[in-house]
Amino acid sequence: MSLALIVALPFLGAAIPGVAIHAGRNAAAILTGAITALALLLLLSHAPAVLRGELVQTRIDWLPALGLNATFFLDGLGLLFAGMILGIGLLIILYARFYLAKSDPMGQFYSYLLLFQGAMVGIVLSDNILLLLIFWELTSLSSFLLIGYWKHLPEGRQGARMALAVTGGGGLAMIAGMLILGNITGSYDLTVILQNKDLIQASPWYLPALILILLGAFTKSAQFPFHFWLPHAMAAPTPVSAYLHSATMVKAGLFLMARMWPVLAGTPEWFWIVATTGLVTMVMAAKIAFFKDDLKALLAFSTVSHLGLITMLLGFGTKAAATVAVFHIINHATFKAALFMSAGIVDHEAHTRDLSRLGGLRTLMPITFGIVTLASLSMAGIPPLNGFLSKELMLEEAAHTTWLTPWAMGLLATIGAAFSVAYSFRFLAHGFLGPVRDDYPHKPHDPGFGLWAAPAFLALLVVLIGLFPMLTAEWLVDVAAGAVTGEPVAVKIKHWHGLDTPALWMSLAAIGGGLLLLGSYPRLRAIWDAAPRPEAKRIFDGLIEPLATLARSVTEGLHNGNFGRALTLAVLTIAGVALWAFLGGAHAAGTRALLPIDPVVTGIWAVMLVAAAATPFLHRNRVTALLLTGIVGLLIAPLFVLFSAPDLALTQISVEVVTVLLMLLALHFLPKETPAESPVPRRVRDAAVAGIAGLGIGGLAYAIMTRQPAFDPISAFHLAQSKPGAGGTNAVNTIIVDFRGYDTYGEIIVLGIAALVIFALSETLLRNPEVTRLLATRPRDRESGDRHPMMLVVATRLLLPMAMLVGVYIYLRGHNMPGGGFVAGLVFAIAYLMQYMASGYEWSHARQRYDHHALIGWGVLVASLAGVGAWFFGLPFLTSGYEYVSLWPLEKFELATAAIFDLGVFLCVLGAVLLTLASLSRLALRTGERANTHAYDTEGGR
């Protein structure tokens, strides 16, 4: 369970900072940190087992038949990544607390951060690949929120959109690739897939799957040619950049390649695609980084370059290279996060991150300078820091790899390393060395401890791993690399490999070349500026724009704001498809025995049809149209009775009454006439469309009724189990409150929400001065002189208790006879509605003791309690139980928990109807409707 808890914690906690921010920024930061720390502790509690080489697993079956299970597993690779995500996450939380300005909504930031963190941890701990894919897309979505956090910046929004389009699109490709893998192996569990290397690599689907999965990994890890989104994502606040681009988001692609390494690597296809992409990305991005003036842009391209380096190592397909890749993942996370945070500090203090406006910060910001020196020397690969260790191992691997020719890989890797040295030194030299200037936008000095603590800690790690690699990192590299390669790894990390290793000379050449490049920077810069370069953003926009135009034209074509057009299109399309399907099939006449024509039913049917058919002709007078509608609705009820559906008949009658009353009330605010607007051809066209649909639906209904079901309906079960299973003889009611109780539970909540929406909308209208002015000045309809007729008032008073008695009776008998909570609620509602009609809103409302909102709330709560109650008996939510009770002097009767549930239904329905009425009435009061204070308030009477 606890692996699932590690993943769930950040998601569960994501709401907390949003609330805690009201208690201050420190509270939000501390709580966010506490959630992350708790998840990290849970993770570390499994570390000993993982280090012993065990596999920690958590399995929650959901739909095993479809392979949909929440399964998690933790091995060395997962431990490394989850540790990085949560550990660096903690540092980022601390850093962000002091980095973000007062005007930035910090609660939101931490919420987004936790969502993102949870998605990342989900990726690295998932066993089920479908689950992994969901988390994968969640990182794209949550990083969108983080990158676009500064919503007021257009670059932020565009950068976020570009990142989402590229990484989300790659994720879609990856879904296809993963599903292919699942099909080949017959399992969606990674632990199973990873055992089937031979099966997968022998499959003809290997190459398509490989390409699709790599599309996902390359887009996420910003590999050429998908690298362009990463620099644009730098519009995000620096804590986001530091988190996403050092330890998390972009490493997800690497994680995936490492995770799938045992089954996908080792083939020529893998080598050529992955190693080549990595190599090209590494060299190209290192060169661009060298010419970037913006500190964050420089770091962004340097990140792309280092990701390329790691990709290349994974692409080699050898155990040794994969081990180096794992080691460099750790090292890159430490120095790059420190550098990003330092760049943020410079930006924060000097109000610029432009290298051409900086320089000489060494004496002004000594602490930051110290951190940057250590981290950038590590990035350059200068001994004895940790970046040196993995870079030298990388060069050694490259030197022994044949790519096109035996020496090309080594040469290009050295060139890439030289550029890496050059941009690292440029970061340091142009930013911090040189004379102090007097034209900084803001006089910089070192920030407070809170801001430099996190990068300083990381710089310390850089040094410690650099000095004592065997003590600090070797064990972690061993288990992680062991998980990647599937074989035990015992790596030896050394500073000195001897004079006869090529890596030593390549390292020296890279450092020398880097210094040379930096020395000739002004001349190279002039060449760079003069050379034409493809502008990634323009190309991307150029690709996206036609798609957006296409999408817009399709949408406009289907729905241009003309409702009739959209409806006509939809009806004709459905009718066309249905006709096509009908003509394509073979048809036999229905064989089901038909019911004889019943004269009573025919009479009702005829009246109903006349009323319905008259409506289109008389609909301009809206009151008439409403009355005709009501007639049709009421006449459906006897049809239900005759066709053996008494429950439906009761519901239909009561709903119809309430609907017509509310519509009459609504008509008060609307014109009473519909003007004749549409020309005759349009009316004919509409009639034809409606006629086609009517013919189709009627025909379909006839076809269904005259044939036996193709499959036996499941109703036999409900009929058989109604009494023994649910303790009621009314099978419809037992379905509603028992067998399908969960559906009903959802339904009453929807009904409650609908009523609240109506309330909210009417409140909004009441708050709008324009609307209230309009309401107060609209022409008054002629009022009846007898607004509250005495006969009606007296009759409704008498009827109220009787109606309620009927309601209670209907409620109580519901389980065994037609009735139930729905109908009872409506009967109560009608009884109240009649009071409102007879005596006016004000008078009745003053005597109404229960708040409508509370009624809805209580309804949902009672229904929930009825459901939760089952838990105390160890049963699933909403399992009902019943018992026969004898209570003198009554006969033996039955008590069912379903009755409690039905009470909830009753309360919710009652509250919803009354709230709707109250909302409309409150609007009516604004029309200058005079509130009556006396029950028999008559105009002419006094």
Binding site: G561, G564, A625, L642, E677, A690, M705, T729, D743, L761
Partner: protein
């Protein structure tokens, strides 16, 4: 009998759609109500027609299919909620804009 019910469903659908194709809110809402009648009836008759067979255990020899009835029952109540929400939206639209046309723009 089946033919009569099928005709009723067809007519209710056609009337509902015709009213929904009008240009003002109120007829559209009435049309939606008609369409709800048709749909609820349709769901109900998918359990086939039966006379004197209410699904009350012990009340008769054979029983009508209770499942479509339960579905239609909830559908009736939800249709009511939906109609009420659209109604308040129509009122709001009318009060805010001064007219009750449903289409954007003039190309109706």
């Amino acid at each position: 009998m089946e033919a009569l019910v099928a005709i009723a469903i067809g007519v209710l659908t056609a009337v509902g759609l015709y009213l929904m194709l009008r240009l003002r809110t109120f007829p559209v809402i009435l049309g939606l109500t008609f369409l709800s009648y048709a749909v609820n009836l349709f769901i109900f008759v998918s359990g086939r027609l039966a006379e004197n067979a209410a699904p009350i255990i012990g009340s008769s020899e054979t029983y009508a299919d209770p499942l479509p009835q339960a579905l239609a029952l909830t559908a009736i109540v939800i249709s009511f909620g939906m109609t009420a929400v659209i109604m308040i939206m129509a009122i709001g639209g009318h009060l805010s804009s001064g007219h009750d046309r449903i289409d954007l723009g003039d190309d109706a």
